[in-house]
Amino acid sequence: MNIHLYLYPKMRIRDENKEATIREKALEMIVKEGFDGLSMHKLAKAAGVSPATIYIYFKNREDMVQQLFKAAQEAFARTALRNFDPNASLEDGLWVQWKNRLRYIEENPFYFKFYEQFTNSHLINHKSVDMSEFKENMMLFVKNAIKRGELTRMEPEIFWSVAYGSFYSLVKFHLQEKKMMSETFKLTDAKLKQTLSMVVKALKPETK
């Protein structure tokens, strides 16, 4: 029992556990049933709280989606920058990025699906999320690789497609969201390394 509640029976303190439970259940509900499947009452039941509690933390469904997106982005940026050195070689730096991003997806499967669902949604105000530290690190990493002659100068979209497109495709096979020949493709470090060495070769400037 909180001492404050004795003194001020009407006092309400932020309950981080409740908040976390609401967020988790909301993510699950949105990923499984879509935005239209989300209702505050259904969510209250699933999270074992009253609708009033949900409204203390979120104004409405749009506000909830926006806050969840922000949390997903912040968690992504935090995980992606773990042990990442923008001065590392292209191969070493991409390896850390791939491993970090795979960890993020495995630790937060709902966040990853949610991000895919909402990244192009009109409900999301991308300006409300501060990704500057992450972006600065990525830009510095690319600049360094160009300077060292490991990377051809190219448009960011082309770089991303080559450097990360193959990685995210493999992740989708790994999560069984895509099927090819094998029914049970598992992503291992050896398979990631094999792919990375091809990617690094493809990004290297041609020697004249």
Binding site: Y8, K10, R12, S39, A52, Y55, I56, N60
Partner: protein, 75 residues
């Protein structure tokens, strides 16, 4: 420890965007109300008020004056 006692939650019959416009100006011009929103998607048409000065009774009076029902939603 963050105190959230200044957030007040009510069940109302402010059902539509049109209903919302009837109270919008009046709530926005009230200096004691820092933030307000109505969730018209929800069955309870929940009104959420952030105010360090007004209590639930004060808000209910204001909303009733505008001809809408309003009762506090308890946790």
């Amino acid at each position: 420890m963050e105190n959230l006692t200044h957030i007040l939650i009510f069940k109302t019959n402010i059902k539509s965007e049109e209903d919302k416009t009837h109270i919008a100006e009046f709530l926005s011009n009230n200096g004691d109300i820092e933030e307000w929103s109505v969730d018209c998607d929800d069955i309870d048409c929940v009104l959420r008020i952030v105010s360090h000065k007004l209590d639930a009774e004060g808000i209910i009076k204001l909303i009733n004056q505008k001809g809408f029902r309003c009762e506090e939603l308890t946790e």
